[in-house]
């Protein structure tokens, strides 16, 4: 894999291109990548072990924080598994509201991805514009659910908040604004030369490679595998809604961009359908505190791909085992395949194209003392204090700053 001749450069775990910690070891000959290996696990926080120590209601909020961007996907997937074990049949209105928030989350996740992709290839204007438009859908989500990201709309047996007529108007108005913007971005992605140059033919994953390596979601659908859990294994209200599964055969990053933009357009009319067909009735059903023993597997089409939760209960109010398989885990294995004989400059956009989603943990830092050559492990705390002391010697005293600031509060 890594022969000794090439220059080996580490990308990550702390690297501006990768928003979250995953580390790649890339060996280069000139500008060409000859081999790459990926190292994961920096974000392991032991969520599955923690779930076994908490009740089901508390677990919803823990599972929601597995991923910062697609929190609704994980909480819906978990709650559906628990409802299936408990045999709860949630009211139709709750199903439609879950689908509404799911599609709004897909819209904000794809717009975020479009901006990050633009930033990875140095097109910051696209980042600024897409993230400005994303604020429209974030405000809608904040108004509907009470928070911009971790919505907390799900509870076992249904949803916690309802939607009134005025909010329905706002959602429809926002969809029209976003649809015009997305049409412009589709036209831009297809016709802007520098964008095309940086996206076409990059990160190629052929159809059977994608199948063999188990690529899911937009990464798979850009290589011709049209698997979409919303269509194959419908959950919530997707059974009663009609929509197309977007899949192209470009097999490269450009194809993934087209798939995500196509899905944005699909999400807009899905949201309109949900608002139009929203049935009347209760929004949640009373759920028992102790869930009877049993097991269930629930699947969900997260913005990044198929998300799978396995829950096993043992009759108490705490789950016996919760297994979360995030979509990125399935896609990360095809990254090494995509990176083969690509340029180093394509590395960030190829990694960003599968839209990886991790988060970071507290780490020790190993500092080598140049005078006495002794290497010691310095925890964060000492570095923080060293920083403060260093500035104090320079006459900048933070204590007085605190007093001044707190006086003004």
């Amino acid at each position: 894999m890594h022969d000794s001749g090439d220059v080996k450069i580490p990308i990550g775990p702390q690297h501006p291109a990768l928003k979250e910690p995953e580390s790649f070891l890339i060996s280069l000959r000139g500008e060409k990548i000859t081999a790459s290996s990926v190292r994961l696990g920096y974000n392991h926080r032991g969520i599955e072990k923690a779930c076994e120590a908490r009740t089901y209601t508390q677990d919803i909020y823990l599972i929601e924080r597995v991923c910062g961007i697609c929190s609704h996907s994980h909480s819906t997937c978990f709650v559906q598994a628990v409802e299936e074990i408990a045999g709860l049949d949630i009211p139709a209105r709750a199903k439609y509201l879950r689908t509404l928030i799911a599609e709004l989350e897909r819209i904000h996740s794809h717009l975020l991805w479009l901006g990050v992709a633009g930033h990875e290839i140095g097109f910051d204007t696209l980042l600024m514009y897409t993230w400005r438009d994303r604020e429209v859908v974030m405000d809608i989500l904040a108004a509907l659910t009470g928070n911009r990201v971790n919505y907390g709309i799900n509870t076992i047996g249904g949803v916690r908040r309802d939607i009134n007529a005025k909010q329905k108007e706002e959602v429809l108005k926002a969809m029209d604004i976003l649809e015009t913007q997305t049409k412009y971005y589709i036209d831009l992605a297809q016709n802007e030369t520098t964008l095309l140059k940086r996206l076409q033919g990059v990160g190629v994953l052929s159809h059977d490679d994608a199948q063999r390596l188990g690529a899911v979601g937009p990464t798979g659908r850009a290589s011709g595998i049209d698997r979409d859990t919303r269509k194959d294994d419908p959950y919530a209200a997707y059974g009663e809604l009609d929509f197309k599964v977007i899949s192209v055969n470009n097999n490269d990053v450009y194809g993934r961009t087209l798939v995500r933009l196509g899905e944005l357009m699909e999400s807009f009319n899905l949201v309109r359908q949900v608002i139009r067909k929203l049935p009347e009735g209760a929004i949640s059903v009373k759920a028992p505190r102790k869930i009877p023993a049993g097991q269930a597997v629930s699947r969900y089409e997260a913005p990044r791909g198929e998300d799978l939760h396995f829950v096993r209960s043992n009759g108490t109010d705490k789950p016996d085992r919760v297994k979360v398989r995030a979509p990125t885990l399935a896609n990360i294995q095809s990254v090494s395949k995509m990176l083969e004989d690509r340029y180093l400059a394509d590395m960030p956009i190829v990694v960003a194209a599968i839209d990886p989603c991790f988060s970071c943990t507290d780490r020790m830092v190993a500092l080598r003392d140049t005078q006495n050559r002794k290497k010691n492990t310095v925890p964060w705390e000492t570095i923080r204090l060293k920083g403060i002391k260093w500035y104090k010697d320079k006459g900048v005293d933070f204590a007085s700053l605190n007093k001044k600031l707190s006086a003004s509060f």
Partner: protein, 157 residues
């Protein structure tokens, strides 16, 4: 190929699975497979019955000294076949399935790291998800592991 037909075909091929297969609901088939016959059933399901995609591998410690490994296979995304293998505490080993599904590699490393289930034939590589300086013999997802790691002195990296 609906759930009934799949169940019937499995039972014809492997008669000992007669009462071990249950259809929980549309698209979910659970099958309890004895450990020694697991490789044959898995190969048959992947090769002949087009359960080509391995969605995930779940490992769990039932607490009563029996561990379980569940292979979630799906057929064109619609039907999920969950092959469940029980393992005794003293003989915690399974054979790798990376020959049929290369994507299983990272799921099997997770089994090894978090539950200590030995996967024979798994290629060498980085451990996932725990760190390199994680002490040997500590398997966090086991029921008897209480996470008293903080007290132990972390070896110098």
């Amino acid at each position: 190929m609906n759930e009934e037909a799949i169940k019937q075909e499995l039972i014809n091929k492997f008669p000992y699975l007669q009462e071990a297969i249950t259809i929980k609901r549309k698209g979910r088939i659970f099958a309890q497979v004895p450990a020694d016959k697991f490789d044959a059933v898995f190969a048959y399901a992947v090769k002949e019955m087009r359960f080509a995609a391995l969605s995930a591998i779940t490992g769990l410690d039932r607490g009563d000294g029996v561990f379980e490994v569940i292979y979630h296979l799906n057929q064109e995304g619609r039907i999920l076949l969950n092959l469940c293998v029980g393992l005794e505490k003293d003989k915690l080993a399974v054979n790798t399935v990376t020959a049929y599904c290369p994507s299983a590699d990272i799921y099997e490393r997770e089994l090894e790291d978090l539950l200590g289930i030995k996967v024979n034939g798994l290629a060498a590589g980085y451990r996932y998800p725990l760190t390199d300086d994680w002490p040997q013999g500590e398997y966090p997802l086991r029921k008897d592991w209480k996470g008293n790691l903080a007290s132990k002195e972390v070896p110098d990296a």
